[in-house]
Symmetry: C2
């Protein structure tokens, strides 16, 4: 893990862009870290001191149960904030690994709190983002594998496709991890992807996904179609 130069060209779309703006006003610079693929940013039970905004790349959080099975618990993409779940116990509840080469902005929680107090607009922004998180990942308790995976693809596309006309993106996560995240076997994930592809709802090759029929995909996610 190393530090990176400050390149703020990407920051406009950052979900905490206001944080950086206010930080500069208060004369504080934000640190950037580069995390190599599969490298760990924080281990479970590490003391909580920082939030992180993903500037590029992606993180997954995971835990291992008594039987040694790994469970994926969260996925953090470009412009999203990782760390809120650690406030509660004062430590990160899960390990967080980079899925690809990832650059994060390190935000001191102390500094973050100070800004929450002094900048009402920033507090509003953070409450907005936290509120959004509370109803995310609704699809985890959907019943069928096809519903879960369809909803998952739609969720990913909404989070990754900032430029409107584009309908394709790279899956930042392995089938095994998708399965673990959704409570499905790797093979099931593969089979459902094949089926969606065969039915011309998406096209997929080497993790490159193209949404051919997002309308039908939405129907599948709602369980409105076989």
């Amino acid at each position: 893990m190393s530090y990176a130069e400050n390149d703020k060209s990407q920051c406009i779309q950052c979900s905490l862009a206001t944080f950086c703006a206010y930080s500069e006003k208060h004369g504080i610079e934000t640190k950037r870290r580069v995390i190599k693929p599969k490298e760990t940013l924080q281990f479970a039970h590490d003391k909580f001191t920082n939030l992180y905004v993903i500037e590029s790349g992606a993180l997954k959080t995971h835990e291992t149960d008594l039987m040694g099975n790994e469970f994926i618990r969260g996925l953090y993409l470009k412009h999203e904030v990782y760390g809120y779940e650690a406030i509660y116990k004062g430590q990160y509840p899960f390990s967080s690994d980079a899925l690809t080469k990832t650059i994060v902005c390190e935000i001191s929680y102390q500094h973050f709190l100070t800004l929450l107090h002094s900048e009402p607009a920033f507090l509003g922004r953070v409450l907005y983002l936290l509120s959004q998180q509370l109803t995310a990942r609704y699809y985890l308790n959907r019943l069928s594998a096809q519903q879960k995976l369809s909803a998952f693809i739609l969720d990913l596309s909404a989070r990754l496709l900032t430029k409107e006309p584009h309908l394709d993106f790279l899956l930042p996560i392995s089938y095994r991890d998708i399965g673990s995240y959704l409570g499905l076997a790797t093979e099931t994930v593969s089979r459902v992807f094949s089926k969606l592809s065969k039915n011309n709802i998406i096209s997929i090759q080497n993790k490159h996904i193209y949404l051919l029929d997002s309308h039908r995909l939405r129907l599948l996610a709602e369980g409105a179609m076989p």
Copy 2:
């Protein structure tokens, strides 16, 4: 829906007790509402203006999909806060119904924001509670019905059993709603409960649950036992 007299004997354990303390300091009284069983507190898309603390009873949130199927999305018990998920869109995303006779404290969001600004300790408390919510309901993507339900019972017991030595409580929700919440059929919920009862892990009659062996229940939730 009607209003209730103020009886603050229960407020000590309220998760936002500090809110009321500060409110009084600022000379503002908190309103109480009584909601009858099956009555609706807020409908989906209602404009968001208030948070609610459950003083007694329980709420469920639910939505209906394209096919007309109802999905239970959340469960709010005594001393817990309902409404955070509405900040995001400025409207309540789901309908919320009382499961039993329920009394809630109505908290104006405007007033809530004011207090967040003026009282740092209150801000800390709210962030703590929100952080906790982010990792709750982890068991929804567990694989087997037994794991989900075991984890659900443990979750409920942790939230309902404030007095330590007690190990029994009343299920505040129907089997149908539990199934909808966990992504299981009503019959499966019934069968798993029967099995847990037959194996002397819990005893259950008429929604009254007694934890006979919470250790083994925890193992079941982790998937460590057949």
